[in-house]
């Protein structure tokens, strides 16, 4: 089949650190908002994102950010909710000239007295080609709240995978993007085994039970040694100064359904799956007095039209 590329579909994710889910107040980190908003304005300028998923934001943070960017083509899908014991702290900013919001659903699992929040499923329709893209934004519990080897982490991965079955009912080969701070690396069982987010691209193409995780490529140092003078090397997406075996982890990822890997209307441009590093943000991320401890991540797919 012959295709013409129409435009890129750029998806970003950033855990801002502004208002964590445990925060009692929604405006606890006011002095940090301008820097976060500046970073997002820069992301918009440099990447022209179509979707930016955010974690650790409040309704007030989002209003401030949108005002600061001053781009009227952007709209917010506010999925934050701090009214109940379980706090929801994620949102998406999307470009209305590129995408139309079709549906949104908050996914939770209940077992006994427990409740797991899997993520927020938002369905967009692309304006230029009329395709549906299902984006799930997740912010899974930290390892302080839910230990690294807790069985509940496995359950998060398994249940998220199961919750996507309804999307497959409507379309056997859907475009699904998972984005989030999973508080787990790509190799953690929750993602690699229970969510079935594989590093093996051919396996994902052959077996639609799998998802493809291009962020396996983002483990380890981003620049080879020795680095040239100006290059900024990082070793993951999140920095924790107290780490016992590493201070860096790759908790923030974008994961794709196999539809993006075929000869289809939307295809992944894998080399553009990257950790977005600026020297200014790196200084703040590595300063434990700062609230910022995550880098944004990005992926790009291309919308195509059959010739």
């Amino acid at each position: 089949m012959a295709w013409n590329r129409i435009k890129p579909l750029t998806l970003l994710w950033w855990n801002t650190g502004l208002t964590p889910p445990t925060a009692k107040k929604s405006n606890g980190r006011l002095p940090d908002r301008p820097f976060a908003a500046d970073q997002i304005k820069l992301l918009r300028k440099n990447y022209k994102f179509d979707v930016l998923g955010l974690a650790e934001v409040s309704e007030e943070d989002l209003e401030f950010i949108l005002r600061h960017i001053g781009d009227t083509s952007l709209a917010i899908v506010d999925m934050t909710n701090r009214k109940h014991r379980m706090k929801f702290d994620t949102a998406m900013i999307y470009d209305r000239t590129s995408l139309t919001l079709a549906n949104k659903l908050s996914l939770t699992e209940r077992s006994g007295r427990g409740k797991l929040k899997l993520g927020e499923l938002v369905t967009f329709e692309t304006v230029s080609t009329g395709d549906f893209v299902h984006v799930v934004a997740s912010h899974w519990p930290s390892r302080r709240t839910l230990a690294q080897h807790s069985s509940k982490r496995a359950e998060l991965g398994m249940r998220l995978r199961q919750s996507l079955e309804k999307v497959h009912l409507a379309n056997p080969n859907p475009y699904i993007v998972l984005m989030g701070d999973y508080n787990d690396d790509p190799f953690s069982p929750s993602l690699s085994e229970h969510l079935h987010a594989t590093r093996d691209r051919e396996l994902a193409i052959q077996d639609s039970a799998f998802l493809y995780n291009p962020f396996w490529r983002r483990l380890g140092e981003s620049q080879s040694f020795p680095t040239s003078g100006n290059e900024v090397s990082v070793c993951g997406t999140h920095y924790y100064a107290g780490g016992e075996f590493t201070r860096w982890v790759t908790f923030d990822q974008l994961i794709f359904s196999p539809a993006f890997l075929g000869d289809n209307a939307i295809t992944l441009e894998e080399k553009l799956s990257e950790i977005i590093i600026t020297a200014e943000l790196k200084d703040r991320v590595m300063d434990k007095r700062q609230v910022f401890d995550h880098f944004p991540v990005s992926s790009v797919a291309f919308l195509r039209r059959e010739i």
Binding site: K104, L105, S106, L107, T108, E109, R110, S111, G112, R113, G114, K115, L121, R159, S163
Partner: protein, 166 residues
């Protein structure tokens, strides 16, 4: 050689477990409906209505049972948990409801929330959470007001209006 005897026994156990789970769910749903009827002094009843009942061909809601009728809660068929005003024929859809053959997990979807409930306690908490939702609360409040208005000023000689609102 395949042990079909063992497989058969496992299947029979699974069938019994599924039957017990469905019976448990029926109990919870019936209790939910009865409590709501009591607290609203009979002005609101809860029913389960199949998705097909809201097809565009229908101009009025098809009533499939008083209160919650377990016999119509079939396998894997999507249904709606609806609230009906007892003195008006107004029906409000509160949530999508899905219960598989094995009983759990049940799926309750309302106002942009999807809750999958894996056991009895989870289902009870899920239904309670649904009642606490402001949109669901608003649907019930509107129904209550309509029903109370019907009590205080009943219309005579007019056919009832049949309307279904989400």
């Amino acid at each position: 050689m395949t042990d079909f005897t063992k497989a058969f026994r496992q299947g029979q156990r699974a069938a019994v477990d599924a039957r017990d789970a469905r019976a448990q769910i029926d109990e919870v749903m019936t209790d939910f409906a009865q409590q709501l009827s009591r607290v609203t002094e009979g002005l609101i009843s809860i029913e389960l209505i199949a998705d097909s009942a809201f097809s565009g061909l229908f101009t009025m809601a098809v009533r499939l049972g008083k209160l919650y009728d377990p016999s119509i809660d079939g396998d894997n068929i999507e249904k709606w948990i609806v609230a009906r005003g007892s003195l008006v024929t107004e029906v409000r859809r509160l949530a999508r409801w899905k219960r598989p053959h094995q009983g759990y997990p049940c799926l309750i979807t309302y106002n942009g929330n999807e809750e999958r409930c894996h056991d009895r306690e989870a289902l009870e908490r899920g239904l309670a959470s649904m009642l606490q939702d402001p949109w669901v609360g608003d649907q019930l409040r509107q129904l209550l007001e309509l029903s109370k208005a019907a009590v205080t000023s009943p219309t005579e000689g007019e056919p009832p209006s049949n309307s279904v609102t989400e």
